[in-house]
C-alpha cells in the first residue's frame, strides 16, 4: 500500500483536509481530492500556466508542486476569486467585458496570474502587462483581449466599489 499523508491547508478561506500519497500533485489534489475542478491542467510540466493558483497570494504552478508541500499554506483557486456573496472580482468582470476568453480552459490560470499581477502593480504599462502574463499560454484569443482585460481590470480596481455589475 502506498503510504498516505494527511494534508491540511486552507483553500479559498476554508480549512480542508485529505489523505494523499506523497507524489500527489497539488493540481490533482485540488481537482480530484477536493473536487475543485476549476484549476485546469494543460501540460503538467509547468509551461502553459493553466494550473496557476495563488499560494499565500503568490501565483504558483500547481502541477509543479506536491500537495504535501502545500500543507499549512493558504491556496486561492479560481473558485475563490469572487466575493463571498458571488459578486465577480474586477478581474473576472474585466475578462467578461473585454471578451478575454474563448474556450475557457486557460482562463482560471490567467485570472489568478492577473489578480496577483494587479495586486503587485495596480497600474501596469502595456509592456508590464505583456511581461506579467507571459507565463500563461492561450491558444484561442491571440492575447489581444486578454491584454485589454488586464487594463480594464486595473481601471475597475481603481474605481470606488459599486454593487454588482
Amino acid at each position: 500500500m502506498e503510504e498516505r499523508f494527511e494534508v491540511e491547508l486552507t483553500v479559498n478561506g476554508t480549512p480542508r483536509t485529505a489523505s494523499v500519497p506523497a507524489r500527489r500533485l497539488l493540481s490533482d489534489f485540488l481537482r480530484h481530492d477536493l473536487g475543485l475542478t476549476g484549476t485546469h491542467v494543460g501540460c503538467e510540466h509547468g509551461v502553459c500556466g493553466c494550473c496557476t493558483v495563488l499560494l499565500d497570494g503568490d501565483p504558483v504552478r500547481s502541477c509543479l508542486m506536491f500537495a504535501v508541500t502545500a500543507a499549512g499554506h493558504e491556496v486561492t483557486t479560481v473558485e475563490g476569486l469572487a466575493a463571498p456573496d458571488g459578486t465577480p472580482s474586477p478581474v473576472q468582470r474585466a475578462f467578461r467585458e473585454c471578451h478575454g476568453l474563448q474556450c475557457g480552459f486557460c482562463t482560471p490560470g490567467f485570472l489568478c496570474t492577473v489578480t496577483a499581477l494587479l495586486r503587485e502593480n495596480p497600474r501596469p504599462s502595456r509592456d508590464q502587462v505583456l511581461e506579467g502574463i507571459s507565463g500563461n499560454l492561450c491558444r484561442c484569443t491571440g492575447y489581444q483581449n486578454i491584454v485589454k482585460s488586464v487594463h480594464r481590470a486595473a481601471d475597475l480596481l481603481s474605481e470606488p466599489a459599486e454593487p454588482g455589475e
Binding site: R23, E44, H99, Y143
Partner: protein
C-alpha cells in the same frame, strides 16, 4: 421585433461559468471513475514480437490490461477511413491497439485500467513490449525515395495522387512571355488545444445503454462509430461533448482508438472509466498538419497576369489516412485564392511516413495553398520589377464576376463556385490599413541599419460545407426558449451567437434563450464543427426552426386573439396585433395553448385543459396537420460552400545581428458576410492570427531520422505567448452570401490562413533574400544569409525591393 440583437457585440453567455471555475471539461467529470493509461510505441516503425504483462500484475489498484488480442470482433477492427475518395487508392488506417506492427511513435499498444491515473501509469510502465525495429520512413524526401515502405502493400509510399485541372497549364506556361520555376516548403505544426483529448464512459447494465463524454468536435458521429463497434443501436448510446478546451481541427478525427476502447472496457468491466490525454500523448498520438513540398511552374504576361500555373505538391500524411485526402483537396483548390488563373494544374502526391497522422488543423490545407500562391505572386512581382500589390490586383476576380466558377471540385464534392465577394476592395483596404503606399518613405526614413520589410497576402476560404445541420427550438410554458443543435462548441461562443439568432428571429429577449450544442440527447442529427461551418450551418438551421415556431405561435395566437396571423408580430416575447400592444398574448401562454391537456399540473397548465379550451367540439383538440407543443425543427443543407475572403499585411523588422524577426504591425481585412456578433468574429480572427504567427515563426514538429519527435513538450515546441503576438489591427467588409437565409459566411479559420505567406513576404522584403521555407527561425534566417552571400540567385533584386 425587440431590441436589435443580431449583429451586436453582446457579451458571451458561456463566460459566467468559465470565469468562476464552473465549466465542465472532460476531466472535470467522473471523479470516481477508473482511469485508463496507454502503453505507446517508442519506435517509429517496428514489429511487436512479444508483450509481457506479468511485471504489471502486482501493481496496486490494477484492474485490467488489454492488448489487441483481447479485442473482440469489430472492436479490434481497423479504424474507419472516414472520407473515402477515388484518388485515395491506398488508404490505410491503424488498429485501436497495434496489431503486429507499429508505424509511429505514440501508437497505442496496450490499455491499462486502474483505480487512478497514477496507478495506471505505474502498471503501464511495467508492461514489457519487445520490438523488432524496422527501417523508419521520415520526411517527404525519404517517403518519395521509397527505399523503405511504411506499409508493405503500398508501393512507393503513395496513398493518393490527386489531380485538379482546368485548361492546359503546361501549354499555357510554355506560351507565356515569362515563366518561373521554383520549390517551396512548409513544415508541420499542430492544433495544440490547451485541453487534450479525453473520453469518459458510463455503462448502465440494467438499461443496456452507454453514456459517453468525449472532448470531440463531433458527438453524433462519435456515437455512430461507437454504436457500430459495440454492436449497439444508436438509441442506446448517448454522446455528449461537454465544455471543450479548444479543438482547432484535431478533435474532428474520430473515433480515436481511445473513443472505441474506453466505452468498450467500461461496458466489459461494468465500471465508469475515463481517459484524459496528457501533453506528451497529445504530441505523439493525436494529429499534426501542414507539412508539404511544392514545386511550382508559372507563366505570366508583362502585367503579371498568370496565364498558366502548374503545381506539384508532395504532402506528408503520416502513418495512416483516417481523414482521407481532405487536406490535399483543400490545398489544391483553395490555392487559387481570389485570382483568375488562366490554366491550372495541381497534382498532389500524398505520402506515408512513420510519423503521426496528419489531419486538418485550423486552415486545413489552405495555409499551404495560400502560401504557394502568394509566394508565386511575389516571385512574379520581383521578376517584373512591379509592385507586389499591383501584381495581385491585376489577377483579381472582379465584383461583377460572381458567381465565379473556378472549374474545380471542392472538398464537399461540389463545384468550386465563389458565391460573392469584393476582392479589389479587400486589397485596397488592406493597403490603406497597413500604409502600403507610404512604406517606401517610412523605410527610407528609418534609422540606418534597421531592416524593415512589408508583406501581404490574400485568401479565399470555402466555409460552411454541407451536408447539413439541424436545429430544434422549443418555447416552454415559462416563456423560456430552448435551442439545440447537434454540432459542438470549442470556445466559439455558439451559446451566444445562436441565442442572438433565435432572439432576433422569434422576437424574444436574449436572456430567455438557452442553447445546447453537441449533446445527442438533445439533437441526434448533425455532422460536426469544422471548416468554419458552425455559424453558417447551425445558424441557418436554427433560424429556419425559429421561423417555423414563430409561424406556429402566430397561428395559435391568432385563434386566441381572433385576429389574422398576418396582422400579428412578436415583441419581447409577446404576440400582439401590429401597432396595438393591448391585443396581445405572451408566448408562454401560446406555449400552454399549443399543448391541449387533460391534466393540470400547475395554474398555467390549467388554461390548456379540456374544459378550459374553447375549440369547437366538431374539431379535434390538436388541429389536423398540427403537433402539440410550441416547437419546431429546421435543417439547413446548402447546395455548396459559401466563400469568405480576406487580405492580411504586416510590417516586420529583422535584427541585422541576431536575425530575430519582430512583427511591428499586423493588419487584417476580412469579409465573412453578415456578422452575427462582431466581437466574437474579431476574437476568432485574433486567435487565428496568433496561431498563424506561431506557424510562421516558431512552431515545427522536429522529428529526427529515427522518427522520434524531439520537441514533444511545451518547453520545446514553441507556441506564442502574449509577448510574441503583435497587436492586430482589423478592418471589415460585409458581402452577404446569397446562398443562405442569414447571408453569413464562416469566420473560424480566417485568421490563420495567410499568415505564413504574409510573414514570408515581409521577411524577404526586409532581408532581400528569398524565403522559400516556413517557418523561419532566427537560425534559419542566419543560414539563409550565409547562403545568399555566396549565391546571388538567392537574393531578391535590390531594385524591386520596395515594389
Amino acid at each position: 421585433m425587440g431590441t436589435r440583437v443580431f449583429g451586436e457585440p453582446v457579451r458571451r453567455r458561456e463566460d459566467g461559468r468559465f470565469l468562476t471555475g464552473r465549466g465542465r471539461f472532460l476531466d472535470d467529470l467522473g471523479r470516481g471513475a477508473l482511469a485508463a493509461a496507454f502503453v505507446r510505441s517508442p519506435h517509429a516503425h517496428a514489429r511487436i514480437t512479444d508483450i509481457d504483462v506479468s511485471g504489471a500484475l502486482d501493481v496496486e489498484g490494477l484492474v485490467a490490461i488489454y492488448t489487441w488480442e483481447d479485442l473482440p470482433g469489430r472492436v479490434g477492427d481497423p479504424l474507419p477511413l472516414l472520407i473515402p475518395h477515388p484518388a485515395l487508392t491506398h488508404g490505410r488506417t491503424g488498429y485501436p491497439l497495434a496489431r503486429d506492427v507499429v508505424r509511429h511513435v505514440g501508437e497505442p499498444v496496450a490499455m491499462v485500467v486502474a483505480h487512478d491515473r497514477y496507478l495506471a501509469e505505474d502498471a503501464a510502465e511495467r508492461v514489457h513490449v519487445e520490438y523488432e525495429p524496422l527501417p523508419p520512413v521520415v520526411g517527404i524526401e525519404a517517403a518519395a525515395r521509397a527505399e523503405h515502405l511504411v506499409h508493405d502493400d503500398v508501393p512507393g509510399n503513395v496513398g493518393a495522387v490527386l489531380v485538379q485541372e482546368t485548361g492546359d497549364a503546361a501549354a499555357a506556361i510554355d506560351a507565356a512571355p515569362h515563366a518561373l520555376e521554383f520549390r517551396l516548403s512548409i513544415e508541420r505544426s499542430a492544433s495544440t488545444p490547451l485541453e487534450g483529448r479525453g473520453v469518459y464512459a458510463r455503462w448502465d447494465a440494467d438499461d443496456g445503454s452507454l453514456r459517453v463524454y468525449s472532448s470531440t468536435q463531433t458527438s453524433t458521429s462519435v456515437r455512430a462509430a461507437i454504436a457500430a463497434r459495440l454492436g449497439l443501436p444508436n438509441g442506446k448510446v448517448e454522446v455528449v461533448a461537454p465544455d471543450v478546451g479548444g479543438g482547432f481541427g484535431v478533435k474532428i478525427v474520430h473515433p480515436w482508438p481511445e473513443e472505441v476502447l474506453v466505452p468498450w472496457a467500461a461496458r466489459l468491466l461494468d465500471r465508469e472509466l475515463k481517459w484524459t490525454e496528457d501533453r506528451r500523448e497529445h504530441f505523439v498520438s493525436a494529429a499534426h498538419e501542414r507539412g508539404q513540398v511544392q514545386d511550382v511552374r508559372v507563366g505570366f504576361d508583362d502585367a503579371g497576369r498568370v496565364l498558366g500555373l502548374d503545381v506539384r505538391i508532395r504532402h506528408d500524411h503520416g502513418a495512416y489516412t483516417p481523414y482521407g485526402i481532405i487536406i490535399p483537396i483543400v490545398t489544391s483548390t483553395q490555392l487559387l485564392g481570389p485570382y483568375k488563373i488562366g490554366a491550372y494544374r495541381a497534382e498532389v502526391t500524398s505520402l506515408y511516413t512513420n510519423t503521426l497522422i496528419v489531419t486538418p488543423y485550423r486552415g486545413a490545407g489552405r495555409p499551404q495553398g495560400v502560401y504557394c500562391m502568394e509566394r508565386t505572386m511575389d516571385r512574379i512581382a520581383r521578376h517584373l520589377g512591379r509592385d507586389r500589390a499591383d501584381v495581385r490586383a491585376a489577377n483579381l476576380i472582379q465584383p461583377d464576376e460572381f458567381p465565379y466558377d473556378q472549374g474545380l471540385l471542392f472538398q464537399d464534392g461540389r463545384p468550386l463556385i465563389y458565391d460573392s465577394g469584393d476582392y479589389p476592395e479587400l486589397l485596397r483596404k488592406a493597403r490603406e490599413l497597413i500604409g502600403w503606399d507610404g512604406f517606401a518613405a517610412e523605410r527610407a526614413a528609418a534609422s540606418r541599419g534597421r531592416r524593415l520589410g512589408i508583406g501581404l497576402g490574400l485568401y479565399v476560404e470555402g466555409t460552411g460545407v454541407g451536408p447539413y445541420e439541424g436545429g430544434h427550438v422549443e418555447i416552454d410554458t415559462a416563456g423560456r426558449v430552448h435551442v439545440s443543435t447537434g454540432l459542438t462548441s470549442q470556445g466559439q461562443g455558439h451559446e451566444t451567437a445562436f441565442a442572438q439568432i433565435a432572439a432576433a428571429e422569434l422576437g424574444v429577449p436574449l436572456e430567455d434563450v438557452h442553447v445546447t450544442t453537441g449533446d445527442t440527447r438533445r439533437f441526434g442529427y448533425a455532422v460536426g464543427t469544422f471548416a468554419s461551418r458552425a455559424a453558417v450551418m447551425s445558424g441557418n438551421a436554427i433560424a429556419l426552426a425559429c421561423r417555423k415556431v414563430r409561424e406556429k405561435a402566430l397561428r395559435i395566437a391568432a385563434d386566441a386573439l381572433e385576429a389574422d396571423p398576418r396582422d400579428l408580430d412578436v415583441t419581447d416575447g409577446v404576440v400582439h396585433v401590429r401597432g396595438d400592444m393591448s391585443a396581445s398574448v405572451p408566448l408562454r401562454t401560446v406555449a400552454v395553448l399549443s399543448n391541449p391537456l387533460r391534466y393540470a399540473f400547475d395554474e398555467e397548465a390549467a388554461a390548456a385543459t379540456q374544459f378550459a379550451v374553447g375549440r369547437p367540439a366538431t374539431e379535434p383538440p390538436v388541429a389536423s396537420g398540427e403537433e402539440p407543443g410550441l416547437e419546431g425543427r429546421g435543417y439547413y443543407s446548402p447546395v455548396r460552400s459559401t466563400f469568405a475572403s480576406g487580405a492580411h499585411a504586416a510590417i516586420v523588422e529583422v535584427d541585422p545581428d541576431t536575425a530575430e524577426i519582430a512583427i511591428l504591425r499586423y493588419a487584417v481585412v476580412h469579409d465573412c458576410g453578415r456578422l452575427i456578433n462582431p466581437m466574437v468574429v474579431e476574437g476568432q480572427i485574433h486567435g487565428g492570427v496568433a496561431q498563424g504567427v506561431g506557424g510562421a515563426l516558431y512552431e515545427r514538429m522536429a522529428y529526427d531520422e529515427s522518427g522520434q519527435l524531439l520537441n514533444a513538450s511545451f518547453m520545446d515546441f514553441l507556441m506564442p505567448y502574449a509577448t510574441e503576438v503583435p497587436r492586430i489591427e482589423t478592418g471589415h467588409l460585409e458581402t452577404p452570401s446569397p446562398l443562405n437565409p442569414l447571408g453569413i459566411k464562416g469566420a473560424g479559420e480566417a485568421g490563420v490562413i495567410p499568415v505564413s505567406a504574409v510573414i514570408a513576404s515581409a521577411v524577404e522584403d526586409a532581408e532581400g533574400v528569398r524565403v522559400d521555407a516556413m517557418p523561419i527561425s532566427p537560425d534559419d534566417l542566419h543560414t539563409l544569409r550565409l547562403r545568399a552571400a555566396d549565391d546571388p540567385s538567392l537574393r531578391v533584386r535590390e531594385g524591386a525591393r520596395t515594389g
